[in-house]
């Protein structure tokens, strides 16, 4: 692809921050704009520069796991978060919540199955987007 030192370096530098940003979007989605769909897309977008700059092989190395695995994992987590409701004796997908506690930086934290579900959505969306991105970038003439 485009062999530009500037692009390569930018991509390398930006990626961790973009991923972190996507996680923040995911986490705060329950109370502010954001969430799993947006977070997942944002995470995958972080890799656009990486694919265009350092190249597809490098991008795969950085990702470490296959995007296919991410999709599967996401589905599994989403479905599993629903099952917790059944285990607790309620219906499938019933929301369960831990008691809130306070953490530095994040403030008051409420953890519950909807967040788990959203994490699944995040992974599935990110996985799908990366899969397509990689697949289309990888096509050889």
């Amino acid at each position: 692809m485009m062999n530009s030192i500037i692009l390569n370096t930018t991509a390398r530098l930006l990626l961790p921050w973009l991923l972190l940003l996507s996680l923040v979007i995911l986490y705060r989605g329950h109370n502010l704009p954001g969430g799993g769909f947006i977070g997942g897309l944002a995470a995958a977008s972080g890799f656009i520069l990486y694919v265009l700059g350092p190249g597809i092989d490098k991008a795969r190395q950085v990702l470490k796991i296959h995007p296919e695995t991410l999709i599967g994992l996401g589905l599994l987590i989403s479905m599993g978060s629903g099952l917790l409701g059944i285990i607790a004796g309620k219906s499938y997908m019933a929301g369960l919540w831990m008691t809130g506690f306070t953490l530095p930086l994040l403030g008051k934290v409420h953890l519950g199955t909807p967040l788990l579900f959203d994490i699944g959505v995040y992974l599935a969306v990110a996985g799908f987007t990366l899969l397509t991105l990689f697949a289309l970038a990888e096509i050889k003439e």
Partner: protein
């Protein structure tokens, strides 16, 4: 044991028959016959209970919401039919054991046969209208498989399809009739229908119910003008003909009419329809039979004739007529099964079944000759065979009628004379007469035990029934007559009623029949010169069938031409037209449009989007098109921002970016845009697309001004934090309130991902690489 286990047991045997075939080889038929024999024994055990007037019921919920239950109801009529089906069915299986010996698909044949038996048992014992219909259709399907068993022959396939289409057409009508009947009576249960004093005849739906149910029954029981499929079904192997024509398939229609007799009869329409169609079928069958020389065809036409008699008797509807109907039905089942099996044996052992060639086989095939002779005498109506009794009762019924007695009696006598001659032709002529062994393709010899044991037993039963009608047959038939009539009918059958008019008619019939039989060679000579194949109902059917096929071919070629452009034009013009039509039905558009309330930013955004669309449509550069697409997407994101949807705006921007990137990855591997369409096409497409867009715009404006039901969003707004602990309502809807939907969405994404993966990285690419 109960009715359901009976049916399930036979179905189970049907399922494992091919495996059993491997296990038991050429004895499989005997083994499988145990199934129907056990059922027969069980039904026989019920006889005392049922004779005493109680019916046996069994019910399992099926679709409780719709009131459809898999319920069974065994009364006298069901029991009689079930005994015939299971009894004759077991002999048919044994017979098939010999008849299809060595056929590679014999195991499959057993499967079809058992499936058919089970569905017939289902028809006669079902208590629920819907369940009955399901079994009814199952017989259509399994008989299709049976009739077309010799599927290598195109003619055989055509005839099987014909039987399926004709009876299937009736089946659809029947279903509609049943549904109307169910609605009219507010019950789906046959036993409730029979035991309540409901009578459909004064319901407003009665004409429709009657027509539809009669269509179903008449097609199944091959009444004129739907009779043509039955002789054609002779393409089936002999065991199938023997079974379908004696106790089962064609009797299903008669059974249905008898079953619903208490509910539907006692109107003039019923009497007229059944009597007239029955009479026509009687005559058409017997006269056509006279012209045939093929053994199985002769028998098929006599079956038609008998079906006509049965339907006519049901139409007359007097107690005597119903009694005659049941007597005739039993007698016919016994001798017709026998005769068909014997005809099959003759065909099997000599290679011909043309009566002008086959003759004098009594020494070569003594047992078959014996069975055929006994059955033929019964069919011909000689005393003391059971057939005599049936005929006698028909005459008696005719005599005691109040109206049209002479006409009906006259037609009955003519038909019976013909039937008698045909009986002798089919059952006596091939075995007596001159020996003609040289003309036969095979050296004739006796069929194996499996192929004559059934006919002999059935034929002897006919004789036994005739000898002891009072003690053996009466207990069997009187509960059935009770069930058909809907009230108890006291009688004892006897063969000797003294010298009376029916006896005189019988004598007349005998003489007439014998004369016709003696003249048989002359008749055959005349018929061989006639060509009767031009104006038959079969040809009419074929004309309809071919017409149907060519119309569907024609419209398929128009609608499914393979051109995407044409598909799109059809889809959009159809839906556009329908939408515009619906729109015009409402009282037009609102007077006031809010164009001038819009803010400057709104106008800017809208113009931005419209400009982008224009660019996409007009440009010849791929890059411009792509960037414009992105711009349009950003414009829409702007709309989302302006109207309080930040989540959407962010998603839209991210997606738009990704789309542009993905497009870029692909776009340079495809050729540049070329000017493929002529200006004329472009102009047309522009007008077309503009019209579609205008319709949608008008629709949206109209929709915006309609009163809408209150939205559930208020509820979501209240619950979002209090119940689901989230302040972003949109996100709470996605991950909590409607989480199952979202799970569905990401599953769709996952599937699309699998699609992309296999397309790009799957086998397709690998194959290419190896080239």
């Amino acid at each position: 044991m109960n009715t359901l286990t009976c049916i399930l047991f036979i179905l189970l045997l049907a399922g494992i028959a091919p495996q059993l075939q491997k296990l038991f080889g050429n004895k499989t038929g005997w083994v499988l016959a145990i199934g129907p024999i056990l059922c027969f024994a069980w039904f026989l055990k019920l006889l005392p209970t049922i004779s005493s007037g109680t019916a046996i019921e069994q019910s399992i919920d099926w679709f409780p919401q719709l009131g459809v239950a898999l319920s069974f109801y065994v009364d006298g009529l069901s029991l009689l039919m079930a005994l015939l089906i299971s009894g004759i069915g077991s002999f048919i299986l044994i017979y098939a054991n010999g008849y299809l010996q060595g056929h590679p698909l014999q195991g499959k044949f057993y499967s079809y046969l058992m499936l058919f038996t089970a569905s017939m048992l289902g028809i006669v014992t079902a208590d629920n209208l819907i369940a009955l219909f399901v079994f009814w259709e199952l017989t259509s399907i399994s008989s299709y498989l049976l009739i077309g068993f010799y599927h290598e022959s195109g003619e055989s396939r055509r005839k099987a399809l014909q039987a399926l289409l004709v009876t299937g057409f009736g089946g659809v009508a029947l279903m509609a009739g049943f549904i109307l009947l169910g609605l009219a009576s507010e019950s789906w249960s046959i036993s409730e229908l029979l035991n309540s004093d409901f009578s459909a005849s004064n319901h407003t739906l009665y004409p429709a119910i009657l027509t539809l149910i009669l269509l179903g029954a008449f097609t199944k029981s091959a009444q004129w003008p739907f009779h043509f499929w039955l002789p054609n079904a002779m393409a089936a192997p002999a065991p199938v003909s023997a079974f379908l024509h004696s106790a089962t398939m064609v009797k299903a229609g008669v059974f249905l009419l008898a079953r619903l007799n208490p509910v539907l009869s006692d109107t003039l329409a019923w009497t007229l329809a059944l009597t007239s169609f029955g009479l026509v079928t009687m005559l058409v069958g017997s006269i056509n039979g006279l012209l045939q020389t093929d053994l199985k065809k002769i028998l098929a036409y006599t079956t038609l004739s008998v079906l006509g008699i049965l339907v006519m008797l049901l139409g007359l509807g007097t107690d005597l007529a119903l009694k005659s109907c049941m007597v005739f039905l039993v007698g016919h089942a016994l001798y017709k099964a026998t005769l068909f099996m014997c005809a099959g044996s003759v065909d099997h052992e000599t290679g011909v079944r043309d009566v002008t060639i086959v003759s004098g086989l009594r020494f070569a095939m003594p047992f078959t000759a014996l069975a055929a002779g006994l059955a033929a005498f019964s069919k011909a109506g000689f005393p003391p065979f059971f057939g005599f009794l049936g005929k006698e009762y028909v005459y008696k019924t005719g005599m005691y009628l109040e109206d049209y007695s002479h006409i009906i009696l006259g037609i009955a006598i003519v038909t019976n004379i013909l039937l008698m001659a045909l009986a002798l032709k089919a059952g006596i002529h091939p075995f007596w007469g001159k020996e003609n062994a040289k003309a036969l393709p095979k050296n004739p010899h006796e069929a194996p035990l499996s192929m004559y044991i059934g006919p002999i037993i059935l034929a002897l039963t006919g004789l036994l029934f005739g000898l002891f009608p009072g003690s053996i047959v009466t207990p069997l038939i009187s509960p059935a007559v009770h069930a058909v009539a809907g009230h108890p009918v006291e009688f004892t059958l006897a063969i000797w009623h003294g010298f009376n008019l029916p006896l005189l008619f019988s004598a007349l019939t005998l003489i007439g029949g014998l004369v016709l039989y003696a003249l048989r060679h002359r008749i055959w000579k005349i018929t061989s010169t006639l060509s009767l194949n031009k104006w038959t109902f079969d040809n009419l059917y074929m004309g309809l069938f071919n017409g149907f096929v060519s119309v569907s071919k024609w419209q398929t070629q128009i609608l499914q031409s393979g051109s995407l452009r044409r598909y799109l034009l059809i889809i959009f013009s159809t839906s556009g037209f329908l939408l515009a039509y619906k729109l015009s039905l409402f009282d037009g558009l609102p007077r006031q449009l809010d164009l001038f309330e819009a803010r400057l930013l709104d106008w800017a955004t809208v113009l931005f989007i419209l400009g982008g669309i224009c660019m996409i449509v007009k440009t010849h550069s791929r890059m411009t098109a792509l960037l414009s697409l992105g711009l349009v997407g950003f414009g829409i994101a702007m709309v989302f921002i302006l109207y309080g949807a930040p989540d959407l705006a962010i998603t839209q921007i991210l997606v738009e970016t990704l789309i542009v990137v993905l497009f870029m990855l692909v776009i340079y591997r495809l050729p540049a845009f070329r000017d493929l369409s002529s200006n004329k096409t472009k102009f047309f497409d522009g007008i077309f697309a503009g019209t579609v867009g205008a319709i949608i715009t008008l629709l949206v404006i109209k929709a915006q001004n309609l009163e809408i039901a209150p939205t559930v969003s208020g509820q979501f707004g209240e619950w979002s934090y209090t119940l689901a602990k989230g302040k972003n309502v949109v996100n709470v809807i996605l991950v909590d309130f409607r989480a199952l939907d979202t799970l569905g969405e990401i599953t769709v994404l996952a599937i699309a991902g699998v699609g992309v993966f296999t397309l790009i990285r799957g086998q397709f690419t690998k194959k290419r690489k190896t080239k």
